[in-house]
Amino acid sequence: MAERHIFRLMLLILGVVFAFLYIPISVLVGLSFNDGGLPTAWTGFSTRWYGALLTNDDILKAAGNTLVVALFSTALSTVLGTLLAIGVEIRRRNGKWLETIIFAPMIIPDIVLAIALLSFFSLLGVKMGLHTIIVSHVVFNLAFVCAVVRARLKNFDWSIVEASGDLGASTFTTLRRVVVPVLMPAIIAGALLAFTLSVDEFIIAFFTAGAGRSSITLPMQIFAMIRFGVTPEINALATLVMAVSVVALALSQRLNKGELPGQ
């Protein structure tokens, strides 16, 4: 019957789309293990290009910077985002403008925020560097952490907060001993998400890093490298970056039972 032809057509579509999605990255991953490093011929499996990364000072420096940016921005945004989420959910009757401001950093195009921050810092005469990247990353990261924690708070039993207060705990103690422990999986998931976003983020970092090479992050380093063409080292680096973000996000999603905002 005609329905069977339609089903075959569907399979064909899936095949084409998945090929389109996966062939480019597979080729990249494959080449990163090619001993010769060239797409012209397969000369044997090798991890030497990964080894080469370890001796490239620029890359190591950039990776170090990225780690600093990601760690600090994650720490800051996790605290701010969690507090925001708890405050917003206790308050409940939040105006539309408030919800918009909290939601905006997640959908605002990177380029807009990047330009706005660059002109802001420049006008204020702030000297730019890793610290400006960090505070800028906190802007969108705290929104993501907040969204993840809020999702968990939607079915939070507030009576345990009242019970804790009833038993004589101060607000701060209740927060520290009752609310935060219950929310911990969501907070960790949010932090992991923030960390990954920060590690991957390029445009805002690029605009707010200031002049010079001292505060180059890994994505900026990759951008600089790939502007000058294809090398086996970039293949290896790209494969590593890809693996790290996929693993971190899968972990975050596992922790938070499949609830990822904006995904």
Partner: protein, 286 residues
């Protein structure tokens, strides 16, 4: 609870952060656009509409149009491919769908630069596609594939396709299959059923996908820089140049302002449409 200020206290640090580093800087762009450019790149604090007028100067406005064209083309291709993929996933047995969806979205999670770079590997003059062509025996001159408008469109489609698959899958998976069957039962062919029943009911998903791809593409700066190779400029690259090389901040701000206005207009239009689509379903027995 209304007299309780403690929740506000919890929210304050984050709100200060968002206000100081998002709201104020964005507002700043609006102001900056109306100042004059200083002689040596600084800012002269006198009001002017010149920057805004310059945006609509044919020289620059055609870059705007070109960006919109590329963004529109990318969004359209992504919607066709993404809708087809989402439709195919929704047509598979239910138990396989979560897994298919997961793998359709997985690339979206990897680094944007890396995904773009993958196409440089494929398309460059010593790249895989050229090698493949040689290997099958093609001797002639191959057209330049990298550093072209087509490469930029491919890159944009590639990067944002998973998003469209997701946004189209949502309404498709919520369709009641019996509604399709009812159409067949009343005499419609499979194609007519698709055109008159399935498609109209899933337009909101397509619109969401289109708007997001368009917005992310029109302001895109990485993909044109890497896959366009400076052959042409898109609006994002023009803005970038004003701030970082040409040092004409007010003009950069004016460009950004128009760009942001286009983006916001589209996003808000899409939000209103999505709202109306879901609002209609909510009102039962009205």
């Amino acid at each position: 609870m209304s007299a309780d200020r403690r929740p506000l206290l919890l929210m304050t640090p984050a709100m200060i952060w968002l206000f100081g580093l998002m709201v104020v800087p964005c507002a700043l762009i609006l102001v900056l656009a109306f100042f004059r450019r200083g002689l040596y790149g600084g800012i002269e604090y006198t009001w002017t509409l010149e920057n805004l007028a310059l945006v609509f100067d044919p020289l620059y406005f055609q870059i705007f149009l070109k960006s919109a064209g590329i963004a529109g083309l990318s969004a359209a291709i992504a919607c066709v491919l993404g809708y087809a993929a989402a439709y195919a996933i929704a047509a598979m047995p239910r138990r396989h769908q979560p897994m298919l969806l997961f793998f359709a979205v997985l690339p979206f999670w990897s680094n944007y630069l890396v995904r773009t770079y993958a196409w440089i590997v494929l398309l460059n003059r010593e790249g895989l596609i050229v090698n493949l062509a040689r290997w099958v025996g093609y001797e002639g001159e191959l057209p330049q594939m990298l550093y072209s408008e087509q490469a930029v469109v491919i890159g944009l489609v590639y990067n944002y396709l998973p998003f469209v698959i997701l946004s189209c899958y949502a309404p498709l998976s919520r369709l009641n299959p019996e509604v399709n069957e009812a159409s067949r039962d009343l005499g419609a062919s499979a194609w007519t059923t698709f055109r008159r029943v399935t498609l109209p009911m899933t337009v909101p998903g397509i619109a969401t996908g289109f708007v997001f791809v368009f917005v992310l593409s029109i302001g895109n700066f990485v993909t044109p820089a890497l896959l366009g190779g400076g052959q042409f400029q898109m609006i994002g690259n023009l803005v970038y140049a004003q701030f970082l090389t040409a040092n004409d901040w007010p003009f950069g701000a004016a460009l950004s302002m128009v760009l942001i206005a286009v983006m916001l207009g589209l996003l808000m239009g899409q939000a209103v449409m999505a709202d109306r689509a879901s609002g209609g379903k909510g009102a039962r027995d009205g």
